[in-house]
């Protein structure tokens, strides 16, 4: 659908970007993104997708808001403690942009639920906080043929990649899913940067502008500080994407 006058003005600072234009914005408004996890990564990622005008954002999280979330999960306040994250996040996001349909889903992502949850999405954002759930999401994204943006953080360190097997490695080509889940220290800014970079990968992919991190891993070592982009190769013995 062509942009309205209001939309043309609202999105003008991004449609001016070379290659984006009204057409890219219309594509974005017709897209559906599944945000897996509404925590430290999911909050900034969902905010930037919302204000950019992604047509539908599914925010999926099975957790409730805890006091220790508030240093980085800025869609929540003290008044929201003990409430489920997904609907609170969705309500905040809707206030930012009425063009966007925000669908909250209160659900745990696991091997049995993941495929159904991500059905119909153009892109999946991994904003999760443990290896096991990430692996379940990876398997579902491969089964559905949906690309996935991966990010993970701890302390001042962050990792980011754009996964679209068989063209690129999948998550299990380079992440060991058997490692135990830990709750590392995470300053809000670390999660904020990586969540924002996830949104950037999504916007590039959905509008066809720029170049994604397909086949590459971005490593942020904020303590140094240093950013590296390294080339990734598929693991020929990968249990998830071998033989695709």
């Amino acid at each position: 659908m062509p942009l309205s006058t209001d939309q043309s003005e609202r999105y003008s600072r991004q449609t001016e970007l070379q290659g984006w234009g009204a057409l890219g914005q219309e594509r974005l408004l017709g897209s559906r993104v599944f945000v897996a996890g509404a925590g430290g990564l999911g909050c900034p990622a969902a905010v930037y997708l919302t204000v950019a005008g992604v047509g539908e954002i599914v925010v999926c999280d099975g957790d409730v808001i805890e006091r220790s979330n508030l240093n980085r999960q800025f869609l929540y306040t003290r008044d929201d403690l003990t409430k489920p994250k997904a609907p609170i996040a969705a309500a905040q996001l809707r206030r930012l942009n009425p063009d966007v349909k925000v669908t909250p889903v209160i659900a745990e992502i696991d091997r049995s639920s993941a495929q159904e949850l991500i059905e119909g999405a153009d892109l999946v954002l991994d904003c999760l906080d443990n290896p096991e759930t990430r692996i379940a999401l990876n398997r579902a994204a491969i089964a559905r043929g949906i690309p996935m943006v991966y990010a993970a953080v701890a302390e001042y360190t962050g990792y980011l990649s754009f996964l679209n097997p068989p063209a690129t490695p999948c998550l299990e080509c380079f992440v060991d899913g058997t490692r135990p889940a830990v709750d590392p220290p995470v300053p809000g800014c670390t999660a904020g940067i990586l969540g924002t970079l996830e949104a950037m990968e999504a916007l590039k992919f959905l509008t066809g502008t720029g170049e994604t991190l397909a086949g590459k891993l971005l490593i942020m070592e904020g303590a140094v500080p240093e950013f590296d982009v390294i080339e990734m190769e598929k693991d020929p013995g990968c249990p998830a994407c071998r033989g695709l």
């Binding site: 443990n130 993970a152 701890a154 709750d183 891993l217 190769e233």
Partner: protein, 79 residues
């Protein structure tokens, strides 16, 4: 041969840097995989998620050559 191991994050303390804040110089006897070298210098390979050299990811089976600067990154899974 001499190789250099580097880490800026969580592995830094394990690595005991001596060249600068992040880098340790290691003298390696013979030809051996990175995994063995790491274990010998007190960095268990279970604490290393990625090792990269000149912008390319290498597996821990990689056998370093003289002068390699190898950056080590820990497993990270928070969100």
């Amino acid at each position: 041969m001499i190789i250099y191991l580097r880490s800026g994050g969580k592995l830094k303390d394990r690595l005991k840097p001596d060249v600068d804040q992040y880098t340790r110089r290691i003298e390696v006897e013979g030809d051996k995989p990175l995994r063995d070298i790491l274990n010998e210098v007190g960095v268990p390979d279970s604490l290393v998620a990625f090792a990269f050299i000149n912008g390319k990811l290498e597996r821990l089976e990689y056998r370093p050559v003289d002068g390699d600067v190898i950056t080590l990154q820990p497993p990270v899974s928070g969100g």
